[in-house]
């Protein structure tokens, strides 16, 4: 198991998020950038406070969207990487 899989993911403090209608938007208050999430992204964002481990998120997505674990893993990993890369998410500690 890689180190990242045992670390808790957290929303960055300088990010405000809003759900409007059924869509999520993330506001990076430091860099003044708004990021709109697709439905899956919005769902992942919404469960991160509760499911902080990537493995937990993958499991939850596979279950909720009734998709196989491999597809869920690909979707979740690429989304989390993007959010980590743009400073919207971080690892705890």
């Amino acid at each position: 198991m890689s180190q990242t899989q045992t670390k808790l993911l957290r929303r960055n403090e300088h990010v405000e998020s809003e759900m409007i209608g059924s869509e999520w938007i993330l506001l990076n208050m430091k860099e003044h950038v708004a990021t709109k999430l697709n439905e899956l992204g919005g769902y992942i964002w919404s469960i991160i406070p509760e499911y902080g481990l990537i493995d937990e998120i993958i499991e939850k997505i596979a279950e909720e969207y009734e998709i196989d674990r491999h597809t869920a893993e690909q979707d979740v990993n690429s989304f989390i990487e993007q959010l980590l890369g743009s400073g919207l998410l971080k690892y705890d500690g």
């Binding site: 405000e16 938007i25 208050m29 708004a34």
Partner: protein, 263 residues
């Protein structure tokens, strides 16, 4: 000493100044309820002194806060307000500086109390309904207002949105004007739509989602970030507005045919 109370939406601003030039500016731009020597009851108290600084040089506003006050500093003005933005002492260079300082103060006061927003846009009344036209500098906000005459113009630069207790979004006549100095013949109207305008060879009006409207609105608000709590208030107010009022993208030619698409 010039002492006057101006009515802006549902609020009253008390002005005091010894400068004749600034008194003239206030009388021209604001709805003055009465001119008297006693300081009347008001929501905001503003003292103005001229003779400060130099002409605006495109430089930024620096904002700093202490426990008791907030200081707004630009090359053409220096303003110190109370933490709730309800009273301020403004030292200014000219009328342009005063307008900017007042926009800054009034916007901060609105957001602090979750009352409403000032938004970079023009707003026009058509058949009793208020319609807003927002865009970046040069997008054509004041052009749209100009092309809409003789319809009543509530704003040509900074639209004053007020969120009523029942959630209704009302546009009040804005004293923060660019070219069209005179107050509007009507004091307010309910907001029916927000247009983000784009000059184009075609005329088209496209409905956008509240979320897309929200994303477009955020950087049109007259607000200079200086306090995380105030920023969250501003975001919450934008959200309320886009949930109440439909947003559109409006492609327009430089004539008034876009009104055929608005209803």
């Amino acid at each position: 000493m010039f002492v006057a109370t101006a009515i802006v939406g549902k609020s009253r601003i008390s002005f005091k100044t010894q400068s004749e030039r600034m008194a003239e500016f206030v009388k021209r731009r604001f709805r003055i309820s009465n001119i008297q020597h006693q300081e009347p009851q008001a929501d905001l108290y503003v003292r103005i002194q001229d003779g400060y600084g130099k002409p605006f040089d495109e430089g930024p506003v620096h904002i700093s806060a202490s426990d008791h006050s907030v200081t707004f500093q630009r090359c053409d003005y220096h303003m110190v307000s109370s933490r709730d933005y309800s009273s301020a002492e403004i030292h200014i260079y000219d009328e342009f500086a005063l307008k900017h300082a007042l926009i800054n103060l009034y916007s901060s006061w609105l957001i602090h109390g979750a009352r409403g927003l000032l938004i970079h846009s023009s707003c026009v009344i058509h058949e009793g309904k208020a319609w807003m036209f927002a865009g970046q500098s040069g997008a054509g906000k004041s052009t749209v207002a100009e092309l809409s005459r003789p319809r009543p113009i509530l704003s040509d630069e900074a639209t004053f949105l007020y969120i009523e207790e029942n959630g209704r979004v009302t546009v009040y006549d804005s004293p923060f004007r660019s070219e069209m100095e005179n107050p509007c013949e009507l004091e307010e109207a309910k907001l029916y739509g927000i247009h983000y305008i784009i000059q184009s060879p075609d005329v088209e009006r496209i409905s956008i989602t509240p979320l897309d409207g929200f994303a477009l609105m955020l950087d049109k608000v007259f607000y200079w970030r200086h306090d995380a709590k105030e920023t969250r208030n501003m975001i919450a107010l934008c959200k309320k507005v886009v949930q109440q009022v439909p947003s559109y993208q409006l492609y327009f030619q430089k004539n008034d045919t876009f009104w055929e698409r608005i209803s």
